[in-house]
Symmetry: C2
Subunit: 160 residues, 2 copies
């Protein structure tokens, strides 16, 4: 429970500490605003498309961890609401490329801004040193996420 192995107490990042901190933070962060009542999956798809560009249905279903029919239906709903569009893939007649629209992009943005508004007063309560520490960690955190998504995309994956 308490005895963790680290090569160097000063250099090494303890994974358990990281996951615990992230989950504690997320427990608060994820349910911040309910301005618009959209499901978790819905928001994630919009965000994935906004960040990574148009994607095939199959690819989205994999990354979002829902079934392909489930994603087809989700995209149908999103398309009906004008948040995404289906475009044929010029390189493959079977495939559909899902594009996020301006409205769809705005939803994710609005949500992020809303969360920012909630966090701002809390951040103000942190000491300058704490603020600095978080700011200094963000590039590394971003890179960590990139390493993860790259590996997940490239890897053949052992199995479900």
């Amino acid at each position: 429970m308490t005895s963790k192995q680290r090569a160097d107490a000063n250099t090494d990042l303890d994974v358990d500490d990281l996951t615990r901190a992230i989950e504690n933070f997320n427990r608060y962060y994820i349910r911040l605003p309910a301005v618009q009542k959209l499901s978790f999956t819905t928001l994630s798809v919009l965000d994935t498309l906004a960040y990574g560009g148009p994607k095939r249905l199959t690819e989205l279903a994999r990354t979002e961890q829902i079934s392909q029919p489930g994603l087809t239906q989700l995209v149908t709903r999103l398309e009906r609401d004008g948040l995404v569009e289906r475009h044929p893939d010029p390189a493959d007649g079977r495939a559909v490329l899902v594009h996020v629209t301006g409205s769809g992009r705005r939803i994710g943005q609005a949500r992020r801004e809303d969360r920012g508004r909630h966090l701002l007063p809390l951040i103000a309560q942190l000491t300058p040193a704490e603020q600095q520490a978080i700011a200094a960690a963000l590039p590394a955190l971003t890179r960590l996420a990139e390493l993860g998504t790259e590996a997940g995309t490239a890897g053949p994956e052992a199995g479900r």
Copy 2:
């Protein structure tokens, strides 16, 4: 879009940078393992109870942002599976205190460990400086989350 206001480029933490980094990370992190197929809400409830101790149904419903009947049903399922228990509140005959059981606690733990296993090889690819930066930010991140949950619990909340 690009011009952000900061009092001091070195000291201040830009909120937009933080939310963006967190969301990028979460997009990868949240869907890491599918070892056990439990819904997002289910895991969150178990985690909340494991971290914060027994809670009333109403209180849980508020923090988890689902309706009270929805939570009653969820707790019923969890109780059936031996992950939580209902205990009467000695101080209030109407209330029910939801306790997480050992099994319930273990589920959250297993998931966290599983995520740790996924992150470990990625962390190894970071530079020592990057690892250090993240490690140094964790206490501040934890405190930020605490400030948030405290405020959320105490505050009268303007409205939905």
